[in-house]
Symmetry: C2
Subunit: 407 residues, 2 copies
């Protein structure tokens, strides 16, 4: 294990944990009928901290940014927040000035409801692009949101779009807890459907360190499923630290920073893997580890290109040991490599050594590919850098989901 050196990994996960596992966080959701009129479908909710939080976020690098992203980015310059209002069913992206006015109004409505200033409220939206929010329904629904401890699970459901399951996690680290939830199951690079991740902690964390720690964690987790967050117009990874566990704020220096970073990495990697596992139409999780690269950048490039190769994904779906597609993906990734040095494993079986195919037990490899978790390990034998990326197989179902999304 990379993370949690010297700790038992199992004992750290909180059973049924989520964003309200850390002290002082409440959440709730309701059915506003934003896209679907089915009132059992939750699509609007609020995450709230009883005390103001240090807050940091990583946003999409897409040049077309949705109104909520533009608003949050501006509000987070001060490094604090108390609540987030969020919805699915409409991304409020490509909606011009009216869209920005709607985003602002959503935070004002939520602020009034929870009793804080609008500047302390952030907003996140996901769903169809290019359509304005049905503000009449949102105005009616926000006051209906009841904030409770159990409401975190409802909130995780309210932000789902094509996700088949809510994705939540919490990890306990000594005195404090880090919780998180994620939506985003369109994990086919580079067409990532919106990724929304909300992380909470009752640890006291200095905001400068919080920003740095979040960026590092995102880099080895969500960015190894998608691609540097430059996918959709709305991608947002937000962390709020309310300090209710007490103690001095964690800063860059010292052992506490490292422990916090490792725990945050663990939460993010867990959510990233869950997201890949729940890729649209996915039936399998693919983990690609590239080692022996000249640089970390090369290892990352190769690993991500492998898990995002449609040909690799299709082959894994069909349990087809078509390892040539893995080498071809690495070859076009831009990573420095020498074909004659490459060594490839599928599961525990070596299929290529010194760049040439070796005789292997095809049944064994097919059996591995038939499983729910497929491991592809490529050693470039050039250097010492390594990286791991996650993806999912590509099934007929993916196309069905995406051909009928707005209609």
């Amino acid at each position: 294990m990379l993370y949690f050196v010297g700790m038992k990994a199992e004992s750290d996960f909180v059973q049924s944990g989520g964003v309200t596992s850390p002290q002082g966080f409440l959440a709730g959701a309701t059915s506003a009928g934003i896209k679907y009129t089915d009132r059992r479908r939750l699509d609007l909710g609020i995450l709230f901290s009883k005390v103001p939080c240090a807050a940091a976020a990583v946003f999409t690098t897409n040049k077309v940014k949705a109104a909520p992203v533009l608003l949050d980015r501006a509000r987070l310059k001060k490094g604090t927040a108390s609540a987030v209002v969020m919805n699915s069913g409409c991304a409020n992206a490509c909606t011009g000035e009216p869209g920005m006015a709607d985003a602002v109004e959503m935070t004002e409505l939520a602020a009034r409801h929870v009793g804080v200033k609008p500047e302390e409220v952030l907003v996140a939206s996901t769903g169809v692009i290019g359509v304005t929010l049905p503000m009449d329904r949102i105005r009616a629904a926000i006051p209906e949101v009841v904030l409770t401890l159990a409401g975190g699970h409802d909130l995780a459901r309210a932000i789902m779009t094509t996700d088949t399951v809510p994705k939540e996690v919490a990890v306990k680290v000594g005195d404090y807890t880090i919780g998180g939830m994620l939506k985003g199951a369109g994990m086919i690079h580079p067409d990532l459907a919106t990724l929304l991740v909300f992380l909470t902690t009752d640890a006291a964390v200095n905001v400068a360190f919080l920003r740095q720690a979040l960026r590092k964690a995102v880099d080895i987790s969500f960015n190894m499923v998608s691609i540097d967050g430059n996918g959709s117009t709305n991608d947002t990874v937000l962390i709020m630290a309310n300090g209710m566990a007490g103690g001095k704020p964690i800063t860059k220096s010292g052992n506490r920073a490292e422990v916090f970073q490792q725990a945050l990495n663990k939460v993010c990697i867990h959510l990233a893997k869950e997201s890949a596992r729940d890729g649209e139409g996915a039936t399998k999780l693919i983990e690609a580890k590239v080692s022996g690269a000249v640089s970390r950048k090369d290892a990352r490039l190769a690993a991500r290109t492998i898990v995002s190769s449609l040909l690799v994904k299709s082959a894994v779906h069909g349990s087809d040991p078509n390892w040539g597609r893995v080498l071809a993906a690495a070859g076009r990734s831009g990573a420095a490599l020498v074909p004659e040095k490459m060594e490839l494993f599928m599961g525990d079986t070596c299929v290529v050594k010194g760049g040439s195919p070796v005789t292997f037990d095809k049944k064994e490899v097919v059996k591995h590919l038939d499983g729910k978790e497929v491991f592809i390990t490529l050693n470039l034998h050039l250097g010492r850098a390594e990286a791991t990326a996650w993806g999912c197989d590509l099934s007929e179902e993916y196309v069905k989901i995406n051909a009928e999304y707005t209609t």
Copy 2:
């Protein structure tokens, strides 16, 4: 029309034209049983010129290059060739030194059969990666290849893999003709299945100019369907000019160079579009034109990102006017853009102006998307550069094809 200024475009296409339309070219194919034992399936053939040709090629930039690519690249340094032996069913890629020996032997066998030196013979393979060629069957089959004028059509069939139709074309330009054929229907960037293109002409062409003209033509045709040819291990675009139409060789300077370039562009764009139209599982051709870009590079980036967006492709498949996906694709393409300036048309209907949605006739757009050719036109309103890219919709069928490719 960009090409053929001052000429009637219709009159230039040769009916049922192909690689043997130019004088002096013969071709033929046979069933070697390389992958399928069905003896009606052609999988091996030869393209032959009665006199030596000036020859040039553009190859894959994938760092993992198949043996035939490495061999051809070396042999084309001298700028001449007389024949090409080619097969489907096995790519002879990732096959190490034995693979190179097989490629060399294929050219030797073909050279003996057609009566030229092995150095004058090139080789191309497509199919499964990582498997060595069944040389016993190839040794038996090459002498069976009968070279005829009509054999060009057989050859176009022999190189098909997941293509559903052979793709051939010829254009007559004054005294000479340019013919071509293409295989490659895996047009989902960046996982291009091998692209093989063979172009022939009886024009006399100086080899330096031939190389330059080919590169230019590839740049605005095949590279606007795939992505700079850095897809598969085997991608090859080859042109052979045998000079049998007579006259002085065409060189860089003068009006003849421009006419040749335009005709070559026309042949290549035609084949590129046919290839996109025959994308694996495709039901529609998508043409994306981006104008008003700051630079040609930006226009190309944006156009290609739009046609390769899985979300755009899926939406087109479902005739879903989800135009936000087009703007989001442009936004992440890397092209300079100002969201508030973008203007978007689907077919003849303006759906976005000044970056904001406009009220449009949804039925009209759905009707356009229901057609066999879908036109997406994005004006960035920033500069004067433009580019056009082609792609296809994404259907459930694509996944079926690729999940069961080697098995």
